[in-house]
Symmetry: C2
Subunit: 247 residues, 2 copies
């Protein structure tokens, strides 16, 4: 389906579609769509991205697709090999470890700033998310837990009230998700422990304890990395929706 029609559908009325096209170039829309396919897992890590395929799928020419590729390249989501094509970036376990260090530093800062700047509305959202996390914890539903986890940290980043921080944080999390998506949280233990840590963070933020929130969020990231390593050690990943295969 052409991306213009897709936007028209998304926005409901044809009039809105025109507005969208006034404000966003095709490059932007293509970039967003490909990014969605990558972070949702429709495109597997290592998969080759064919220019013409995307042109046909989205109903645009190669120019905007190539420009979108360059954006995704800078965002760290794809890797380009000259004359060979672009591929969904593969993050090795060593790279993931390094990225976790960066994320811990950024999340520590997020905790510190959020504790003093969080707005009541944001605090309410955080508490609602944690509440839903406890429900997912009872049913051990990892597919439900995963997006809640993303949303929790997204709201925290917002609450920090620092646009540069939010932008950098998003990029780092996006890269990590290239890796985490492959094996998610497999056992109940991880969901339970992770939820406890989220609750503690919310408590510290509620009380405005900047130092505590900073340390808790920093440790939360380091613990997440350790949980990931333990999950990697377990043998049997359960089947998920099959993503488009790597080259």
């Amino acid at each position: 389906m052409a991306i213009r029609e897709k936007e028209a559908e998304l926005t409901g009325t044809p009039g809105d579609a025109l507005r969208v096209l006034r404000e966003h170039s095709l490059t932007t829309l293509v970039q967003r769509e490909i990014e969605r396919q990558i972070v949702s897992g429709d495109l597997a890590a290592g998969a080759k991205l064919n220019e013409v395929d995307f042109c046909n799928e989205l109903g645009v020419s190669r120019g905007p697709v190539r420009e979108a590729f360059r954006m995704l390249e800078q965002a760290g989501l794809v890797r380009t090999e000259k004359n060979r094509g672009v591929f969904v970036r593969q993050v090795s376990i060593e790279e993931a470890n390094e990225i976790y260090d960066v994320r811990a530093a950024l999340d520590g800062l997020i905790g510190r700033l959020a504790a003093t700047r969080v707005k009541p509305e944001q605090l309410a959202r955080l508490k609602a998310i944690v509440k839903r996390m406890r429900a997912a914890e009872r049913t051990l539903d990892a597919d439900e837990y995963f997006p809640l986890n993303l949303e929790f940290h997204e709201v925290m980043a917002e609450a920090a009230g620092n646009r540069a921080l939010t932008a950098n944080y998003r990029r780092v999390v996006n890269e990590l998700n290239l890796y985490r998506r492959e094996m998610l949280l497999r056992d109940a233990d991880n969901i339970t422990l992770s939820t406890r840590e989220h609750e503690a963070v919310v408590e510290a933020v509620t009380k405005g304890q900047a130092d505590v929130a900073e340390r808790l969020l920093f440790d939360h990231v380091i613990h997440s990395r350790e949980r990931l390593h333990r999950a990697l050690a377990t043998p049997a990943p359960r089947a998920r929706k099959a993503p488009r295969k790597a080259a």
Copy 2:
């Protein structure tokens, strides 16, 4: 001058030029050249980047130039307004303050990691840089000090041995330089104080004191921000090479 000839000159022999063109696309070369013009200050903050002008200047068509624009946009160096063009990004004082917070967090991590991982060769480079800083301090030569400062932190980032950290750090520093370039360090005080802090960092890294290096480098960034604010309060910026004017 066409960018292909420019590359041929840079690499010395014509054979190397062919190798360069095999490995790098025109987009990459254009992106690098424009980035150089921005960080060097040849293009002032807020200046409009005309596609055709760059095509003529670099001897390429608009395709590679537009792709380079998209990369620079993601790197945070330019801002794009649909149907109006791309402009060198302007960083406000408020944004700079926020970015400094992010940089402090990253630099803290750099100090911590570098203290345990720095290689003898890197340590030697750091000491050589600080030595040259002391010379620049005696002559109060800010134009000499500025690149030394950049190099010092670049080597520190390398010494941390974390590619994800280095990449994020470079992006943040690039954005800050959009701002700092405008007023540099104007008075001798700043150079002296900054050099003292660099020396303290080198000492901590030499001794492998991770916690100390982390705190020193974190504080160094915060102090740099304060020095910037003091410099902003001083009235008379001295003239510099005139950059291409903003729109």
